[in-house]
Symmetry: C2
Subunit: 211 residues, 2 copies
Amino acid sequence: MVLFADLDEQDFSAIHTPIDDLEFKKGSTLYDRSSRSQGIYTLRTGMVKLVRVTADGRQRIVRILRPGDVVGLEVLTSPCYDSDAVALTEVSVCRIPVDVIFKLGANNQRLHLKLMQKWQQTVKDADDWLADLNFGTARQRVSNLMLKMRSPDDPEMTTIFSRDDMGAMLDLKMETVSREINQLMREEVIEQLDRLGRVYRIRNSELLMTN
Amino acid sequence: MVLFADLDEQDFSAIHTPIDDLEFKKGSTLYDRSSRSQGIYTLRTGMVKLVRVTADGRQRIVRILRPGDVVGLEVLTSPCYDSDAVALTEVSVCRIPVDVIFKLGANNQRLHLKLMQKWQQTVKDADDWLADLNFGTARQRVSNLMLKMRSPDDPEMTTIFSRDDMGAMLDLKMETVSREINQLMREEVIEQLDRLGRVYRIRNSELLMTN
DNA sequence: CGAGCGCTTGACCGGCGTCAACACCCGTGG
DNA sequence: CCACGGGTGTTGACGCCGGTCAAGCGCTCG
């Protein structure tokens, strides 16, 4: 209940339309650009990637969403979504139809404030993504991604993605991503914790930052 | 009056705080990250760049704003700005104190809708910027920038920036930008119209798009 | 055990960065 | 009027980072 955290009882009684709790499997798409609006989603657990296809047919990941983020805000003012949303892990979300937002929002100042905060966070995330992950050498990009994907409750842990996805995030080729990660491991800056190459421990965050 | 286009007389009478019309010279900064919020700006004429400084001290331009855009929306929910805003040309803006927005918004549904549309446009612009201008070869990036900066009322005309600024937008070095532009001119895809290298005519937009 | 997928690693190549020289525009001052 | 200097843009030579192509490894699942 990211958006409704501090609504009154009476606010809730105004809701007649159902709010669905949904689960998505790893790899399944919550929505794509062609689909009509089915509402906005608040992300409870898991990670979601927002994907666009460039003019020349390649995939570009424009942002990663994590628990607490809102997915698909754009349909509040637009009939369709701006990108595809694909689950990177098992994902559980809460889907809220657009008209529920408008009914509640009609005379609810606090919801407007919460929405505005979500918009602001989205813009900031987008700008951060551009400034931190798409600038500089391959090594800098990979380092910054490892830092950005740290676990909120244990900043030594970080979990990343398939090498292909990382390429689409950082504008690098899979092979380059692989090389940089293994280089960081040889230098003992990071340490692999699983067998699949997704979970790492950061042993020297200083060095990652000053790359 | 981008935001207040369809407000009632009575809405306006609620405003006591002054709304300033301001002018900025080319190169002057409207605000920077350290400055306290002085309100949001609607851009009437000219162009503004939003700039961030990366960890390693280089400048990154995250977006260009043009007439009709709103500058500094983030201070509606945050005490300070997320980036520096610098005038790329002579600029005239309309500055609206934050509390005016809140006073008007308290019971004005249409203003909320307008604001939401501005937020959505901002996110879309940010994502477009990432997907179109920071992906692919130098030639593709320069081509896409020329397309994005076309004049709204004459799509054959496009006006760009200093080579250094273009580098900070596209994550390329000045020299590379210069080479690509001159290459496009030799191929007669574009044609320079001024002596400073800012205004061009697009002679073959097909070719620019399919690069 | 073998097929298939994702990841790693090596060899090679090309595009972009680096460094430097130079052209051009403009303002200033002689 | 020209001489000069600084800022911006262009162009060339060269080197290196990251892309390309290909082989091989290690899982997982049939």
